[in-house]
Amino acid sequence: MKKLFLAAAMLASFVPATVLAQQTAQNHAATVLSGYACMALNLPAGEMMNPDIQVPIYSDPTSSSTQIGRASAIVIVSFPLVLTDGYARVLHLNGKTGWISKQYIKTWVSPGGTGDHCYPALLSNGRIGFEFHK
């Protein structure tokens, strides 16, 4: 058994670097995250371009809790929606769950008018991201 393990380890070490490079270069949506949905950040177009305007994501459903990040144009919310004290539970792109004031989220519609739907997904590079299709 020990020899078998040793042989397997030796074989693994001979995997060409090019194969490994190809595997890491192909970044795609590996898994659609169930229990979550895409929503859009509810800001006027001018404010979407303003770096001074940042919509916070809090650790708890209150503005007095720790800010764990800032919202982007697409917000991943728990689905079905979980609302507490005017805050919606969200999944931040860093993998942490947090809360955003519900006034800042609205239904997501493809901004290019393609009619695609947005699905929160775990990407092959380990990041939480988005997949879009009909």
Binding site: D52, H92, N94, P111, E131
Partner: protein, 271 residues
């Protein structure tokens, strides 16, 4: 036996044979150029001793003549490379500008990878254009007034000493050095925004979406499946304003950026 101890074991000059005394006396009189000449005329490998009497038991050694290993000389003057900067094709383009070296030094002072700054001006204008494109954006970094002000404030907050290099007021947008500082600050904002949005150690490619499509769209584009249409992530008007076809995928757009900026695309934004 009466022996005098000599501290360093040298025999006093006056005590040796006459020929040795003569040599020792003459050495200090040799002109300086006689010594300097040796190193000045050494223009290659030193003369090698070729054995002509074979030693018993040792094979004959053939020493090829070869060519002299001369040291090239030139009249040019060199300057030191930028410390801590990651080299890149884009950096070479920026360095070719009259204001390039100061822009790089200022970026480094802010902790920004100068290749990230270089990549931005290469994409925006090839680091050369200084005229507005009619949309309100201008300068080598094609910044809009609001982004220019934001970036400048961020840069000055990080390093107040940069204020001495800034052209005040709206005229600053026409000054490449000032705009480079503002662009550096804006890229720092982009980096912070993406990190706060869950992207650790953002790359030049990651922050490009922030710079091109705006603060709120940076992270969604950077985290989109590459097969996604850009039009699914950023408003259609943003694409048309940037002359990007509506059927462009995220992967195609990223590939276009990478082709333009070369090997800086995957470098970290911060040093």
């Amino acid at each position: 036996m009466n022996m005098k101890l000599r501290p360093f074991g040298f025999r006093p000059v006056g005590c040796g044979p006459l020929i040795i005394r003569a040599v020792i006396l003459l050495v200090p009189l040799a002109p300086e150029w006689a010594f300097a000449q040796v190193s000045e005329t050494l223009n290659g490998a030193p003369v090698q001793v070729t054995p002509y009497l074979p030693e018993p038991g040792v094979p004959t050694i053939a020493i090829p003549q070869g060519t002299l290993n001369t040291v090239p000389t030139g009249s040019g003057t060199g300057t030191g490379g930028s410390s801590g900067a990651s080299g890149s094709d884009a950096l070479d383009t920026l360095l070719a500008q009259s204001w390039g070296s100061s822009a790089i030094a200022n970026a480094e002072a802010l902790g920004l990878n100068p290749s990230a700054l270089a990549a931005t001006c290469v994409i925006e204008s090839g680091c050369g254009a200084n005229d507005g494109n009619g949309s309100g954006a201008q300068g080598p970094f094609q910044m809009y007034p609001a982004a220019f002000q934001d970036g400048l404030q961020t840069a000055l907050a990080a390093d107040p000493s940069l204020a001495s290099q800034i052209v005040q007021g709206s005229a600053g947008m026409d000054d490449p050095t000032t705009e480079a500082i503002a662009a550096s600050g804006y890229l720092m904002q982009a980096n912070q925004n993406l990190e706060s949005s869950g992207i650790s150690n953002p790359t030049v490619l990651d922050v490009r979406s922030y710079y091109e499509f705006g603060p709120q769209y940076g992270a969604p584009v950077a985290n989109a499946d590459p097969s996604t249409l850009l039009a699914d992530v950023v408003p259609q008007s943003y694409l048309t304003n940037n002359n990007i076809p509506l059927n462009t995928t995220v992967a195609q757009w990223q590939s276009s950026v990478a082709n333009t900026v070369g090997n800086s695309a995957n470098q970290s934004v911060l040093m």
